[in-house]
Every structure is written in structure tokens, then in C-alpha cells.
Symmetry: C2
Subunit: 303 residues, 2 copies
């Protein structure tokens, strides 16, 4: 994560994932040269999202602790479902890891949501969960920015979220599953996601508690459609049953915990100027995806 090499013939990761069999080899050859040949130092301030605009972003909600707490936060009924929860979100832009993120109004309830995600190659309609595992080519780390005050009315329509889910951010490095070693298990990224809000520790929930593995989320998405290469599928906000100990990956969950304890939430949502930092951490303190470290700012008016 300190040196980089351009890989001729592959202008970006979307082009690579569309022809992964060839690209994987070229990328592996380049990776083996890092530190030995004429690589270049990485300028962290210049890092962007690992993917350019993509055709499809499908975000799951696979952590039961998150679903339970959001029900409290939103004051909504328990969601009855026998399949994974999933919505389609904005995919034409992912903020880079240090880009400022602009919103029109603090009153919209600006919140972060720390997640993991997978990038798949082409997945044919009807692919089983077992087969889907082989289509998971890369893993990523995401901040799924959310506007909570707009979320409940949209959710109640049944149509999912448009205004409440603007562009997400992505950590700078997409990694192959084998790069995580034992931390990639049963289609789950079994790493702690370290979340800080204004430089204060906020959460360190682990990705292992997904009710469905990513391969099951991929199969769910592909039940009635071919998934185009480069589709990103998200885990939903990482949350653990022992949230009292590990904290949360979004503000709404903390507010729900406050409601449960005190009858009302006391933690406000984000203000313009606030910062949020997220990075997944291995047992030996490596951060395989790098960090997302951003400020929220007010959308300039008159645009």
C-alpha cells in the first residue's frame, strides 16, 4: 500500500473486471514486481475510489443487529422476510477516500454507514450461492452515506431510497479474497471495522456476523437478472450483537441504543465540518483496504 505500478492495457478496474481471467494474470505479474522494479510511491491524498462509475450497486442489509436497532431508530415495524434485504443504489459515482462529501442540509440527518462489499465478474441469472462464491473477485470497504430524516418516508412507500441514499465512498484498495487469508471465511469479511467520528472512536464491529454470506447475497441478486461485471454488492451496516462493547458503524444505531436505554436519542447526526474515518483492521494491525477519511461539507448553493 505504499508503491504502485500502472498495468498497461487496463485503463481502470471496471475494464479489468469485465475481462478478469486475462486481467488477473496481468495484475498478479505487476504485483510481484512491486518494490523490485520502477514502481512509484503512492500519494495518499491523490487516491480515488478503486472503481470508476459502475453499472450496478446493490446494497444488502445482512447484519441482524443492525436491522433490530434500525427498527428502534426508525420506529418502524419488524421487517418480515425470508430472503436477504437488498436495494439498488446510486452507482455512477463513488467518492474517493479523502474527498469532501457535500450535502444540501444538516436537517436531513447526515449519517455514515460502514460496510464491506464484493466486486463480481459476470454472474449469469440463476447462479447458485455455491457457484456465486467463485464470481467474487475482489473485496472493498464502503461508507454508505445516508440521510436519515428522508429515509423513513421513502421506506414506507416500499420503493426503497432515492433521496436518502446519495453517493457512497469507497476505501482506496480493492483486494482479492485470498489476500485476507483466514479473515475471508464463509463469504464474510471477518475483520473489525474501526470507525471514528471527529477523531473519537465510535465502533469496531466485526464483519463475521452476517446472516447471509456475500455469496448468498450475490445469488439473491442474480435470481432473475444477469449481474453485469463490476457489480458491487454491499453487506449493509456492520453490526454485532455485543454492540454495548464494540460500538456501532452508524450514528442511527447509537441513537437506537440510547432510545432503548433512556427513551430518547441524545447523539445528534453529523454537522457540516465533521469528519469520519473508517478502516478495517487485521489481527496483526494491517489495514488491507486503506482508510476512508472524509469531511462533510455544505453543498454550495447556486449550482
Amino acid at each position: 500500500m505504499k508503491r504502485a505500478l500502472p498495468v498497461p492495457g487496463w485503463p481502470n478496474l471496471l475494464a479489468a473486471i469485465a475481462d478478469w481471467r486475462r486481467a488477473e494474470h496481468h495484475l498478479a505479474v505487476a504485483a510481484a514486481k512491486l518494490g523490485r522494479e520502477d514502481d512509484e510511491p503512492i500519494d495518499k491524498a491523490g487516491l480515488r475510489a478503486p472503481l470508476p462509475p459502475i453499472w450496478q450497486w446493490l446494497d444488502g442489509s445482512a447484519f441482524q443487529a443492525h436491522a433490530d436497532l434500525m427498527q428502534v431508530a426508525f420506529g418502524t415495524e419488524r421487517i418480515e422476510h425470508d430472503k436477504p434485504l437488498m436495494y439498488q443504489g446510486m452507482s455512477d459515482r463513488f467518492y474517493g477516500p479523502t474527498e469532501a462529501v457535500s450535502f444540501p442540509d444538516e436537517a436531513h440527518g447526515i449519517d455514515f454507514e460502514g460496510e464491506f462489499g464484493v466486486i463480481v465478474d459476470t454472474v449469469p441469472m440463476g447462479t447458485s450461492a455455491a457457484e456465486a462464491m467463485r464470481h467474487i473477485k475482489l473485496l472493498v470497504q464502503i461508507n454508505d452515506w445516508s440521510l436519515r430524516a428522508l429515509a423513513v418516508p421513502e421506506m414506507k412507500t416500499g420503493f426503497g431510497w432515492i433521496q436518502a441514499k446519495p453517493a457512497c465512498s469507497m476505501a482506496p484498495f480493492a483486494v482479492t479474497p485470498d489476500a485476507l487469508g483466514d479473515a475471508w471465511r464463509d463469504g464474510r469479511v471477518c475483520l473489525d471495522l474501526m470507525v471514528e467520528w471527529n477523531d473519537e472512536p465510535f465502533g469496531r464491529a466485526n464483519g463475521r456476523e452476517m446472516a447471509y454470506g456475500f455469496h448468498e447475497l450475490v445469488a439473491h441478486a442474480a435470481a432473475t437478472r444477469d449481474l453485469v461485471a463490476g457489480t458491487v454488492i454491499g453487506s449493509g451496516t456492520i453490526a454485532n450483537a455485543n454492540y454495548a462493547e464494540v460500538g456501532s458503524s452508524c450514528i442511527s444505531e447509537r441513537r437506537a441504543i440510547e432510545i432503548i436505554a433512556d427513551g430518547k436519542p441524545t447523539t445528534p447526526f453529523m454537522r457540516f465540518g465533521d469528519g469520519c474515518r473508517m478502516q478495517a483492521q487485521t489481527a496483526d494491525n494491517r489495514t488491507p483496504f486503506g482508510a476512508i477519511e472524509q469531511r462533510v461539507i455544505q453543498q454550495p448553493t447556486g449550482k
Copy 2:
């Protein structure tokens, strides 16, 4: 709609809409040459959707008659909302107008949905409805294929539709609003959509009864996000209050009308082998978008 000319420098319509100011001029110059210079006859069987994969497809549901009937068809509660209804759907593929459309299972309740749509150039976050009108560069006609048996459980999660909304189809010609003359009014495509199912007339509802104009749908979508150039925004299923007279643009509505009249639906959903034809028609019998004319087939197994 009989002759065509390639326009050098513009490989496809997505490239053109991303730089519309320049493209519009080149396309208008080419259009003026049609029938005078070395144009080519259009092979109708070879026509594809006017857009290649796009980054974003946002489908509204702006016809109150459709919303009222779907509530009956689905047995769901009335949707309380003070903003347009909208979900984000699959945008990486639009079937061409004569392509066969494959689904895994007749039991999913295969249904068509006749709609109009608009293609916008870049729309900045916070654009007003009045300003949004200027960003509507092209109009299209869409069949939003739907799997009704999967729709209600997904809708009840609040997350919108993944499995119930596979790829849509698009009529072959995208047209500029001025090409419709008086039939483009108040951000509405005021044309009858002629729908046939297995060569029998099924509906001829008119696009004028939208509760929100397309410019208002665009502004709704752009409230918290920049809309990427080439975003397509749909009207939702075209339906009229006098549905007893004009019929419907989807099977679910006819089933709802049967439920209202007889307590139960009698019209089944589509079977493999069924055909569906849709074309918008002007008062003087022109069909500005061309026709969508497709068969549904069973998704080959073992893919």
C-alpha cells in the same frame, strides 16, 4: 424512421448525451441530410435499444390510477406520500425492441408495464423543477418488465425491488421533445400508448394524466444527488381514470379491475411464448418511438 445515417464522432447515445451541446448540433445536421444524401435503410429486425448500458435508471410511479389499482392487485395499504414515488432499477441492460425476453419461471407472474421516460444531461444536485425541464433532452418509450409474485414481499421490506424488476425494454427511437409538438406539454408525453398482448388490443391509456410532470420527477431525483448524464427517468405504468374505456398498460391493473368487479382476478399473467407489442401513437397516426414487439421465453437452464 426508415432511413439512418451514422454520425461521426458519436459512438453511441450515452456519449452524445454526456456532451449534448456539441452532439445536438451534429445530430441535427445529420437529421437534415436524411433522405437527401447517402443514408441507409433501417433494418427493423436489427434495431437495438437507443441507449447502451447506462449508469442510472430511476423509475417513477406518477399515474394515480395505476397506484390505486396496484393497491387492489397487491392487497396492500394505500401509500401515504407527499413526494413522487420512485425506485432505482437495473440500468446495465435495456432489451432491444424485438429481442426475446427470458425469465426463469412463469410462476413469478410475468407482466409488462408500458411507460414513457426521459433522458437527461447532467443535472446538478438541488435543481428546481423549472430548471429541470431544460435538462430533458430526449424522450423514450419503455416496457418495464415485472415479476408480480416477487413484488409484494420485496415491497413490504421497504427496500424496493431487486428480483421483481429485471431488465426493461426500450423502443428503438429516442426523440427530442420538440419532435412531439403539442403532445409534449407540462413535462408530459400526451400520447396514447397502444398495448397489445398476443395480438389482441389490451390498452390505449394516454400519458397526460401524470400527477407529477417529468421535470418534477427529475427535480425529485436530483434533490440530494447530481444526476449523471444519460440518466433515464420513467413515468411508471401509464394509466387513466377512465380505464374501463381505454384499458390498461399492465396485466396487474386488469386483474385489479376484475377484483373490483368480481371479487377475484381471472386474467392470468404471461406464459412463455406470449407476445407483447407497444407503441405510442399521435393523433395523425405516427408512432414517434417505433414499436416494442417481443416474446417472452424461458431462461435456458444450466447457464
